[in-house]
């Protein structure tokens, strides 16, 4: 069962010549063949392309030339990330036939490292959602219980990793889209600091929030992926120049003396599942036993995070989505006038949630409302950032649940927009502040559904987050 390996195990096996990259890739393709029809994790699978990449990786491994931890390792990519000459739909009908003429920088880097792309994963259309029910290709089903959602928006990526269809995945996180599905599916997922990874070639949603990051079976694997994908890119002016640390180096150096803040607001949320609180508290005890100091802290503006998020994100989103109009690429609908062509293409090409967010954003930015909504939310965003700045003077990281509940039923929240938005209540605040946040598996509830623990740190503190995550996984 080569497809069940972690990056570390697979890389060791490849180097020791216990198996080849082609064998490893075939094992993943067999698993996809067996499971994808039921789970709907992949929109496109590129078997021929993957096997060709695997053969090249095997040559590289045989020659011992320029081998990285990712050489010969099969992975999946969220379909909202552009891959040259491979269909990239963003899970929205309006791009059903779209084949990019360019490729995301992070995918270029993974290809140069010798990683093997298997295909493109399902998601909420253009990242709009927290359950993967807003995909034009149907929902992704939870691998442990097919009546439950996978989480979203990167649900296909989460299930592809959790169900062993690939070894890791590359996805995006605007306000929880990596962490929440990682938590629901029992894997590790990183929202990197804003500016740490290039977003060139990513279908943009909310430009001051969007990030690209990895999802994998362990924190250690995330560290290896970040060593390859992170760094400055001249094609993305928001990327920072700071050198990329060797994240895997300090993973095992422990957490003795580390100050961990416990924000009380994250444990007082109405509607939080009891088992989520209990499991996180158990994990906090473990961290304490391993030498960390637990410090109660307060982030009083947390309760405004969802409101800020659902003004600013749809506003930026409505501008970004304007490019999808069926004119230069994608699916064009008929219409009597040019305006009708736009309006009909967008009416047919977007699912309900995308239209809702575009309209919320358009209204918030429209004449007469800009100051009371958009500008107001930008100011409250500052208050939320100041909350974090203040606590990070006192503590090194914060630990919270990733989500207030485990995976919910498919259709359960579909008619309750606000309740669906509250699924991101713990995931949105660090995104608002541009901070890195890691979700790791923290056990399961009584029905066996995974619970995620979130570790939030100051900007560019990924190394510390990995150390805490790795320590917990090994405990």
């Amino acid at each position: 069962m080569l497809n069940t390996l972690t990056i570390k195990q697979a890389a060791e096996g490849l180097r020791a010549k216990k198996f080849t990259a082609v064998e490893l890739t075939k094992a993943c393709l067999v698993r996809i063949e067996e499971r994808n029809e039921e789970l709907n994790a992949f929109i496109s699978v590129n078997a021929e392309y993957a096997l060709e990449a695997a053969r090249r990786a095997d040559e590289r491994l045989a020659a011992g030339d320029n081998i990285t931890m990712l050489t010969g390792i099969p992975y999946s990519v969220k379909d909202a990330i552009c891959t040259k000459d491979l269909r990239s739909t963003g899970a929205g009908q309006i791009l059903d036939n779209y084949i990019p003429s360019f490729q995301a920088t992070v995918i270029d880097k993974l290809e140069q490292a010798g990683a093997v792309m298997l295909g493109k994963t399902n998601c909420d259309a253009f990242g709009h959602g927290a359950s993967n029910e807003n995909s034009m290709y149907g929902p992704v089903k939870h691998h442990l219980d097919q009546t439950k959602v996978s989480g979203g928006s990167s649900g296909g990526s989460a299930v592809s990793v959790a169900d062993d269809m690939c070894i890791f995945s590359i996805a995006e996180d605007t306000g929880g889209s990596i962490r929440q599905p990682a938590a629901f599916c029992g894997i590790a997922g990183l929202r990197a600091s804003y500016g740490r990874n290039s977003r060139y070639g990513i279908m943009p949603m909310a430009s001051s929030f969007d990030t690209v990051g990895p999802m994998a079976k362990t924190t250690e694997d995330l560290a290896y992926i970040m060593e390859v994908m992170a760094g400055h890119d001249e094609k993305d002016a928001t990327t920072v120049e700071e050198a990329v640390p060797t994240y895997s180096k300090e993973l095992s150096s422990g957490i003795q003396g580390l100050k961990i803040g416990i924000p009380k607001e994250y444990f007082e949320i109405e509607g939080m599942q009891k088992e989520v609180r209990e499991k996180i508290e158990e994990q906090l005890e473990t961290l304490k036993k391993l030498g960390a100091e637990l410090v109660p802290v307060s982030l009083p503006y947390t309760k405004y995070a969802i409101s800020v998020y659902y003004i600013l994100v749809p506003s930026e989103d409505s501008s970004n989505m304007a490019r999808l109009d069926g004119i230069r690429y994608g699916v064009r609908s008929e219409g009597d006038s040019l305006i009708d062509v736009y309006a009909n293409s967008r009416a047919h090409g977007f699912p309900e949630e995308v239209k809702r967010r575009i309209m919320v954003g358009t209204y918030a930015l429209s004449a007469g409302y800009y100051d009371s909504y958009y500008r107001k939310a930008q100011k409250v965003r500052t208050k939320i950032i100041q909350d974090f700045d203040r606590v990070f003077d006192e503590v090194d990281v914060l630990v919270t649940p990733t989500s207030p509940f485990t995976a919910f039923g498919i259709g359960e929240k579909k008619d309750d927009t606000i309740s669906m938005y509250l699924a991101d209540v713990f995931a949105a605040p660090p995104a608002i502040a541009g901070l890195p946040a890691l979700s790791v598996d923290a056990g399961a509830d009584a029905s066996g559904l995974p619970i995620g623990l979130q570790i939030i740190g100051p900007r560019l503190s990924e190394e510390v987050l990995f150390r805490v995550g790795h320590t917990l996984e090994k405990a």
């Binding site: 779209y98 409101s307 994608g330 736009y342 575009i358 429209s366 930008q378 100011k379 208050k383």
Partner: protein, 99 residues
């Protein structure tokens, strides 16, 4: 606060999305609910608070204004995605209507 059908029609026009009558009523309720929830921001005192417009800490990121090299393959790739074309040209409906 409560939005009207006229508000929704205005927003849908600005957003270039055609809606059925049923959808207009649906989104009227949805937007009313979302903006109703967001009313809570009014209770935050933001008188002396600056707006956050970006979180990178970077300022004035510029590059040289140079023509990037391109080749015919790139042009062909882009043209291959045109939903409708005439020869090498992108075909669209008339921008201006005759009176």
């Amino acid at each position: 606060m409560s939005l009207t059908i006229a508000d929704i029609e205005h927003v849908a026009m600005l957003a270039r999305i055609s809606l059925s009558q049923e959808e207009k009523e649906y989104y009227m309720q949805e937007l009313t609910a979302v903006f109703g929830y967001i009313e809570q921001l009014k209770e935050v005192d933001t008188d002396d608070v600056d707006e956050t417009v970006q979180v990178t800490g970077l300022e004035d990121v510029v590059r040289d204004d140079e023509v990037a090299p391109y080749n015919e393959d790139m042009v062909a790739d882009i043209q291959s995605q045109f939903p409708d074309k005439m020869g090498h040209l992108l075909k669209v409906s008339a921008v201006f209507n005759r009176k």
